[in-house]
Subunit: 695 residues, 2 copies
């Protein structure tokens, strides 16, 4: 579908310019400099030629077919240009011009206008207000972009909402000597979207890993569904900026489309197995490892070092990334003795010492390749002036070629010296990912490991519970909607919960003291009584909640007292419910997230949510594995297992409850907000004892 | 004192070698290559010359005086060499040879032997098993080291326990084009110590900032006291590795001296205002900012950007570093309108847009320099191909020269293009710290800001409370020591607390039920009774603790019951104490730290310490400000202010208590461990209700 964009056989430049440094000139020069293999047709109303190429006055003058056009002309002229592209049979247009939806209403109108024309002619639009694309395929060499970095061919493809960050990533990859395959930065994205681009990269055989930069998604559901499929096949390394409120504000100001700190993007990454980064440098360095190394199958790393301190730093960072630096087997240690110097440390890290040459490095590498207790290899290689560093590099390369375990190298040297440049080139040509310091190298191996964990994590399918009465729940919500009630009554809420098999402490809605007592007798004491009246908002503050009522008399007098004090607010009903003291308070919440479905929240209630803000989120539908992860990932998870002699709570029942809530939200997407606070959890079950639903 | 080491006027190489790549050859070549201005005297028993220099057979053949000798000979020969150095009047010796304390007993004996000789002759020893020093002073150019990086002169001095990390830091500084002043890596450090080196750097007028790498200190108190003085005058940027258990193990294996994760080093850094780093790359990049920029006086940053996304990333990182990106004043916005393009965003970040040239950047810079609401300036400068990037760089340099506010620049470019190399050189020669991506640049400005905070933080002097009976407390401890008791009795503990004005819930130690009842009558009910018997360890589990005893009868029957059940263990005493329910449980602990004094711990008691491990530490003596920081820095600090309608606790009383504990520990250093768990805190006071002291 996007071949005309990413693999154009001929390109027209509408708005080609003879003025150096203008975009209409830079793009042509870039195509020429990068070595584009197809014809370039500049359009210019005055100049007979641009950048040494014959210029045309109109598209229909162009002799051959054209796949792709750049449009670099004032905004008001763009609709006409798109029309002419349509007539010429052009299949894709990169609109570099700005002045559209990002500039307010008039711009948005123009954008809608040319989008309609494009649709009529079957043109795919890229942009407007964008950079463009790059395809490094040596058979094509399409540099349809005004940036300044000329990537070598490779296997990493980049897509970035922000052209500035896209260019930065491209440059950083080039600085590290990492080849790139495809690049795209699509600005206002009026037509070709980031999910589509990700899918295209996913289907591109030469792309082995994808780098994504975003500040949020205009259609997060589309992204989630598309990228899920791709992420299952190829590593996607992603960074989402706007993580702080002020960062989100800055993002909103430059994209004009998003506001507020958005946690959903990170949750999407987590749900579908995209590897998230908070630092663009770290992401690009990790890409170097992804572009050449296998994914480790476990978390055990063997370290080879010819210098002490950097091994300490590397160990710290590797461990912080979740890796383990295990003891080597006796057999490995015995084998090491045959190749290492007497002063070497035959532990893990293996300190081959500064004087180690090729044989010592090779000996250690061979041992780690064969050692069953090790899944990946980290090397600290400082180019000690008194050793044959080329030979060390050659041995590392030999072992790297086996591709049996991932290898990452911290290569500490002075590249201004020719001798060490040669050593460096040996590593580079041998496909060994190397870094200038131990932390950077260790974080890159850490990223490989985290991706391995993501790959092995199968969240499974959401449970579909049987015996659910969706129709009943839906009809309650529909009735409330028709009556204009956005907040459901307690009775509605509990009936919906019960329809979804959500355990609820025994309850009844009653009209007066006599009914309340009858209900309490049936439910069993002690009970809670809460006034149920739409006009009363803060029931507790108004004296509309009474807990731990132990007998009929207490219920009667409580209801009569509430009636006397609160009757003036409207018709009162009295919600009677089993009082369940002594459990662990939990909270489950949900909120509809723009265009995505619902976020589900879980935490411990009371001060844990109020003071510690110790809650976690997932996107519905939540699977059994994900619900279990929610329980395990709160900071206070240990409290669920019981502390200080208290029994633990029934975790499987909580997991079941979270999934039922998730099913409810999935079935009834009109629910805007939902709260179960608290849920009382015991060793043998959980019960929702307060609930709220807003539609 | 260390001038002979760092400013040697003539150098002898004991163990000079004609063999290329050997250390005895590399050091001479380094001295020659770097341009050492003094005479170099190689010593070699056979060769008439080494590296083109006349070689000597013995030190006394050398015609002139010698300040410094390198010793690079087999370990057993070193003592004799030191003796000869003494006879020659050499004042400092760098022992590059290994095979001493790091290799076990025989090595340690050799080390002690030559150290004694050195002391006799007044020689300062550097090493053994070390790299050496570098002094970049153009008048000296002393490269007394076998590493391979040749630093330009500058104002950053480096000291590293690990030679590998020292070399790495030196190389990273060189890669960033940052000059260096002095360098030292002292290996086994048998004589010249890191604190001494830090002091020397502190006194060196050309050193403006110090970089320190360590894995712990052999004498932390010496370091604390020396570095405190230097840190008050010059920025010290420091990294401590071995932060994880496995990292500490790796450190212990290569230094042979330390074990276990050591938190004291980080606490020392905090106490004396050293800026800590967890990433060596980040530390070195920060040094670039420290080497040229003033320290910001506040946390408000103005951002200028010519690209959107990198400003979002920078904002995220700056905010995460504690900086604020405030609104600009109306006046600033009005002024900006006179210089910026219409499509510019006149907020903060100021988006001057990609087409901005020198005048737009200068206009925005001038506004931020004058804006009272901004303390520092962050610039995103992508070298858009369609703009005069040299002029932009020149304008940044012009404003940087004013040195009115710190400026940090994210300079995104392709340095393989000559045009942008020129732009880069303008920035570099103009002293503008620049980085290749927004996160790195923002973290460096963040480091300047954090150092500004450290500079402004005055922890003050520890309070010395009046009315303390140190003699009484000391005599109790002395008595226990004489009696061979390492764990003090409850009575001892509470008497010591009272001697230090630490509020204790009313208590008495009694021998039987009748005495217990009399004591309880006096103290007032309810009371707690605990059995007090050295032979009973887990009182609570043994039924030796009874709380909330409300009257005499309850006390009597409890004591009689304990006597009956537990009497078999030995002579029982009964500790009676006022029962104080309903307060907030706190915990204060202390432990003697090897060679440093005591660490004091504070946290909330119960599950907060047991499950959340929510505790903080400081080194005694703890000042009023530090005690306040302890309260504020636990994660659950909000609980101290009261939640869910509960009243807050008396924070000033807790601060007072922490300081009294600190004074107790300082006065009585023989205390090995102390626990007050729990302390009951109320709105109007705090009371220790359980205490334990081990000597």
């Amino acid at each position: 579908m996007l071949d005309a964009l990413f693999k154009p056989r001929a390109i027209a430049i509408v708005g080609a310019s003879v003025k150096e440094l203008s975009i209409g000139n830079v793009i042509i020069r870039n195509l020429q400099k990068y070595g584009y293999t197809g014809p370039i047709y500049p359009l210019n109303p005055n100049a007979p030629e641009v950048c040494g190429l014959k210029a045309y006055k109109t598209l229909d003058e162009i002799p051959g077919p054209v796949d792709l056009a750049h449009v670099i002309i004032p905004a008001p002229m763009v609709p006409q240009a798109i029309l002419e592209c349509g007539k010429k049979g052009i299949k894709a247009v990169i609109i570099n011009s700005a002045g559209f939806s990002e500039m307010g209403e008039e711009g948005a109108r123009l954008q809608a206008e040319f989008l309609a024309i494009a649709k009529e002619y079957g043109i795919r639009l890229f942009g407007p207000n964008c950079q463009g694309i790059i395809n490094s395929d040596p058979a094509l060499k399409a540099y349809c972009n005004f940036t300044f970095t000329y990537p070598e061919p490779g296997h990493i493809s980049v897509v970035a909402l922000s052209g500035g960050v896209g260019a930065l990533i491209m440059q950083a990859l080039a600085d590290l000597g990492i080849g790139q395959r495809l690049y795209a930065s699509n600005g206002n994205a009026c037509d070709v979207s980031i999910p589509e681009i990700v899918r295209y990269y996913g289907d591109d055989a030469e792309t082995r890993a994808i780098i994504l930069y975003t500040e949020g998604f205009s259609n997060p559901r589309e992204f989630l569904e598309t990228a899920r499929e791709i992420a299952a096949r190829k590593p996607i390394l992603a960074m989402k900026a706007g993580r702080t409120e002020q960062g989100a504000k800055a993002a909103s100001s430059h994209t004009g489309s998003l506001a507020g700190v958005d946690i959903a993007t990170e949750l999407i990454f987590e749900k579908i197995g995209i590897l998230p980064f908070a630092d663009e440098g770290e992401m690009v360095r990790a890409a170097m490892a992804f572009s050449s190394q296998p994914i480790p199958t476990g978390n055990r790393v063997g370290i080879i070092t010819n210098t002490g301190g950097p091994a300490v730093i590397a160990t710290d960072v590797l461990v912080a990334c979740g890796l383990d630096v295990p003891k080597l087997s006796e057999k490995s240690i015995e084998t090491l003795k045959t190749t290492q110097f007497p002063e070497a440390a035959l532990e893990n890290p293996i300190d081959v010492v500064a004087t180690a040459g090729g044989p010592q490095f090779r000996g250690a590498l061979d041992v780690l390749i064969e050692e069953d207790g090790v899944d990946s290899i980290f090397i600290n290689f400082v180019t000690a002036p008194f050793t044959d560093t080329h030979e060390v590099a050659r041995q590392i390369v030999e072992v790297n070629k086996l591709a049996r375990k991932p290898i990452v190298c911290n290569f500490m040297t002075d590249l201004s010296q020719e001798r060490f440049q040669i050593t460096m080139r040996i590593l580079k040509e041998g496909g060994v990912p190397f870094y200038a310091n131990p932390s950077d190298a260790a974080k890159s191996l850490g990223a490989l490991h985290k991706f391995g964990q993501l790959k092995r994590r199968d969240i499974g399918q959401p449970t579909r519970f049987a015996g659910i009465d969706t129709a009943k729940a839906a009809s309650i919500i529909e009735k409330a909607r028709q009556e204009g009630r956005s907040v459901l009554s307690a009775s509605d809420v509990y009936t919906i919960f019960e329809a979804y098999g959500i355990p609820v402490a025994g309850w009844a809605v009653t009209a007066n003291a006599a009914e309340a007592v009858r209900a309490a007798d049936r439910i069993g004491y002690p009970v809670v009584v809460k006034v149920d009246c739409e006009e009363i908002d803060h029931k507790s503050d108004m004296g509309g909640v009474a807990i731990n009522l132990r007998d009929a008399e207490a219920v009667r007098s409580t209801v009569e007292d509430m009636q006397a004090r609160l009757g003036k607010f409207g018709t009162l009903r009295f919600f009677v419910q089993k009082f369940l003291p002594g459990g662990r308070e939990l909270i489950i919440g949900a909120a509809a997230e723009r265009e995505l479905g619902h976020l589900v929240m879980f935490g411990l209630g009371g001060i844990y949510v109020e003071v510690l803000k110790d809650v976690v989120f997932k996107i519905a539908p939540v699977t059994h594995l994900e619900a279990g992860e929610m329980l395990a990932s709160i900071k206070t998870a240990a409290l669920l297992d019981g502390v200080r002699g208290e029994p633990g709570v029934d975790k499987e029942a909580i997991i079941n409850l979270i999934q039922r809530v998730s099913q409810l939200l999935t079935d009834l997407p009109m629910i805007q907000e939902m709260d179960m606070n608290p849920i009382m959890a015991f060793a043998d079950g959980v019960f929702a004892v307060d609930g709220r639903i807003r539609i």
